[in-house]
């Protein structure tokens, strides 16, 4: 039974997230400095712009992943669902020529998987990592089936514009990502839904006592993940001008890494959305830098794996009582 001494009010007003700035910002600074020195092509405006644009897809995944992790859950199926949704989008746009219909189809696919995940976790009480591992297999299977292992080509060229277009000089993906970030921010910090997300991870009992349906909340948060995967699929298909059955595989890992590095804890109902943004940038910088140094993507994956483990270790150190 330890009693902590009270915190002087003026210090206590500093938002909790700010205390974490040193961690991920430091990582980001170190990476940028390191690559800036190691590679001539890193610190150019074109390259920086590249990093930002390429990170948008990851951000769209990392945002809901942050919320899911805050509820002590995990969504391992995001990459596979992203892939499947992109295939659905590609097939739909080729078949109907309508962007709107294709978008709806992709979002529908994402939402469907989100619903399944939510139901598995909340109604059937299956631990999230196993439930989403299962849906990962299912989504992957569906992707392979629909495409017969081949890429989907023949997507109308104007779709590319989604990825390469600009609004007021700003690349479209960044606008989309900024919008998504703003929406998630409002969702998490300004709505009842967001308040309850904190409670799901921090003290689930408190929610139950307050009469809020834990099941409903869990379903909604995984639905959110599915929805964002749908939007991300849009960007990814536009970027590649095709849909591959293996395109998005493993992106959930980058997303989890970004969230972990960004400081969101796996166990205490604490989330820092801006940290996730920095984490996404960190992963983006890491990949970009390693690319410039001609490091094969396999080794990149290895280093991100190491990054996650380091981030978790530090997180564990921090939370030691």
């Amino acid at each position: 039974m330890s009693g902590r001494t009270a915190v002087p009010t003026f210090l206590a007003r500093v938002p909790a997230g700010l205390a974490r700035v040193p961690g991920v910002a430091l990582v980001l600074i170190v990476l940028c400095a390191g690559f800036g020195v190691a590679s001539a092509g890193f610190a150019t405006p074109t390259n920086i712009a590249n990093i930002l644009v390429q990170s948008t897809i990851l951000l769209l995944l990392a945002l809901p992943m942050t919320l899911i992790i805050m509820t002590e859950g995990l969504d391992l199926s995001m990459g596979a669902v992203l892939t499947f949704a992109s295939i659905v989008f590609a097939v739909s746009v080729i078949a109907t020529g309508s962007f709107a219909l294709a978008l709806l189809a992709a979002l529908g696919a994402g939402l469907a998987f989100g619903l399944v995940n939510g139901l598995l976790v909340s109604v059937l009480d299956i631990p999230p990592f196993i439930a989403t591992l299962g849906t990962l297999g299912i989504a992957q299977g569906l992707s392979l089936l629909v495409t017969d292992g081949q890429s989907v080509v023949g997507i109308p060229r104007w779709i590319d514009g989604i990825y390469s277009g600009r609004i007021a000089g700003i690349p479209l993906p960044i606008v989309v990502a900024a919008f998504a970030y703003a929406v998630t921010h409002v969702l998490l910090y300004r709505t009842r839904f967001g308040t309850y997300i904190f409670a799901l991870g921090g003290n689930r009992e408190a929610l139950k006592i307050a009469g809020i349906s834990v099941r409903g909340m869990l379903i909604k948060v995984y639905l959110f993940g599915g929805l964002m995967a749908g939007f991300a699929a849009l960007l990814m298909t536009a970027r590649l001008n095709s849909a591959h059955p293996t395109a998005g595989i493993g992106m959930e890992f980058d997303a989890i890494a970004a969230v972990a590095v960004g400081g969101t804890s796996f166990e205490r109902g604490n989330g820092w959305l801006f940290g996730t943004l920095l984490g996404v940038l960190a992963v983006g910088v890491l990949r970009n830098g390693l690319n410039l140094l001609a490091v094969p993507s396999s080794a990149q994956v290895a280093s991100i794996g190491a990054l996650v483990i380091v981030a978790l270790f530090i997180d564990g150190l921090r939370s030691e009582p």
Partner: protein
């Protein structure tokens, strides 16, 4: 500090409440009056029925018999929602706060003030509403501070504010000053005074005589589920109160036998301290004796037990078993012949889904099978021997231990250590949740153990047990040992007096 007599019926009244659980009568015809603007102290030993009574009041438990009255009119309380309708709120010891939300969000969890668009929360609204509530209890703090940054005392204030914001007119507090410093306690008392002025009734459970007399307008004493007295603080004194709390009829089914003279020193604990909150612990236990470790809940007894056994690491001092310094792992302690029968036998002492036999042999696997090869038949034989020896009631050695009764489960835990040939036993609340009849049997078992030369350290919250069973006892308070009582000084009154905060 006594309230002048409030005319009319009490704000809330419980009459003739009885509640029993299988094997134990928790409450027997208890009546309790709650008056507005009054602090009503509820005192009694552990197990006297205080929390059961409060749980009946707030609707968590259903009384078997008895009636409730709100301002003189009979009402029913069948579930927590009913209690809340009457403004009854309980401040639990485990807080229902969400760490990374701020104070205002916690206060209004589930009842957020709506913002302009659906789903949005009116941030400024709840912050100012929270400020208002906090002001009524005199808690001056910025409601935007996240709760995890608050000290325990402040968190408690938030809990109270949360209850008040739901229009609580009767506030029940269970040992609220347990984790507070003197200064924080003063703040709490100031807040209580303010609440009284607003006509809120407070039911306050406490072991601390000083605050019982300082704060109480009325004191009710429970003992063994019965109300044994309801007095005003001005009519009585601390000694009389203690006498009311502990006086009881002696259970004659267990008589302490003559014990042989204590033998060699088995356990020696020197200047031990641990991060779990204990410090300067010195004690010894000799072969053939049962030494008690008493004190109130939270005084650190279990922490001492865990430190000795190696379940928690120590930061100071040393522990010697049979003269040898032990290295602080449970594996090592077990090998050397130490046993721990934990407080919570289901979650800490047994694997409920495993069989009786598997549980019995677990600690003694190395001893039974020194080659490392496990022979099921020999394990079953060994388990059966223990079952016979302790007369554990189970149809089969293969039955899952979770199906046994509490008393028999406890025997399995003890049997586990007999099988491991332990020579030093730490019992943490050995008779908790066990029928009265089975208790005597457990005591006789302890006798037999020490008669055969073992040494026992027994933790118990029931002073009668300590007095009846132990040869001598240490008393703990706030993580330290505050006294040692030899056989001739070992009385319940002495234990209670030493253990209480003065």
């Amino acid at each position: 500090m006594s309230a002048e007599g409030v005319p009319g019926p009490p704000l809330f009244e419980l009459r003739g409440i009885s509640k029993h659980f299988p094997g134990v009568k928790a409450l027997d015809d208890v009546s309790f009056e709650i008056r507005a603007g009054e602090v009503h102290m509820l005192v009694g030993e552990n197990g006297a029925g205080k929390s059961t009574l409060m749980k009946v009041l707030c609707g968590a438990y259903r009384a078997d018999r008895g009636a409730f009255f709100h301002r003189g009119e009979e009402v029913t309380i069948g579930e927590p929602l009913d209690a809340r309708k009457f403004g009854i709120a309980v401040i639990f010891q485990e807080f229902t706060l969400v760490p990374y939300l701020d104070i205002a969000q916690n206060i209004f969890l589930g009842r957020e003030i709506r913002g302009p668009l659906p789903g949005l929360v009116d941030q400024r609204g709840i912050h100012s509403a929270a400020k208002r509530v906090l002001d009524t209890i005199g808690f001056d703090i910025d409601p935007r501070i996240p709760v995890h940054r608050l000290g325990v005392a402040q968190q408690q204030m938030v809990e109270i504010a949360k209850a008040l914001s739901q229009d609580a007119r009767i506030l029940v507090m269970d040992e609220p000053t347990a984790a507070l410093s003197d200064r924080e306690t003063e703040l709490l008392f100031a807040m209580i005074a303010r609440l009284k002025q607003n006509g809120v009734a407070i039911v306050y459970i406490s072991h601390r005589l000083a605050e019982v007399f300082a704060l109480g307008d009325r004191i009710t004493v429970l003992r063994d589920g019965r109300k044994v007295g309801s007095v005003s603080p001005s009519e009585t004194g601390p000694d009389q109160l203690v006498a009311l709390m502990v006086g009881r009829s002696v259970d004659t089914t267990y008589a302490r036998p003559a014990r042989p003279q204590a033998g060699e020193v088995v356990l020696e604990v020197k200047d031990v301290g641990a991060p779990s909150g204990i410090a300067d612990i010195n004690l010894t236990v000799r072969a053939g004796e049962i030494v008690g470790l008493s004190g109130l809940v939270g005084s650190g007894r279990t922490e001492v037990a865990r430190a000795i056994f190696g379940a928690d690491r120590i930061s100071a001092g040393e522990i010697r078993l049979f003269g040898e310094r032990i290295d602080g792992s449970t594996q090592d302690s077990t090998r050397r012949g130490m046993a721990l029968i934990p407080e919570n036998r289901k979650s800490q002492g047994l694997a409920l889904a495993r069989s009786v036999g598997d549980n019995i042999v677990l600690a003694g696997l190395r001893r039974l099978f020194p080659t490392g090869i496990f022979l099921p038949r020999r394990a079953v034989q060994a388990a059966r021997a223990v079952i016979d020896q302790l007369r554990i009631a189970t149809p089969s050695v293969h039955r899952a231990v979770g199906t046994l009764s509490g008393g028999n489960q406890q025997k399995v835990v003890i049997g586990k250590w007999l099988n491991a040939r332990a020579r030093f036993f730490i019992f943490d609340e050995p008779t908790r949740g066990i029928d009265v009849g089975a208790k005597a049997e457990i005591f006789r078992l302890l006798d037999k153990l020490v008669h055969d030369g073992a040494a026992i350290l027994m933790i118990s919250s029931e002073q009668t047990e300590i007095v009846r069973v132990c040869d001598r006892a240490y008393v703990m308070r706030s993580g330290r040992i505050v006294g040692e009582l030899a056989r001739d000084q070992l009385t319940e009154a002495n234990i209670v007096t030493l253990g209480m905060h003065r």
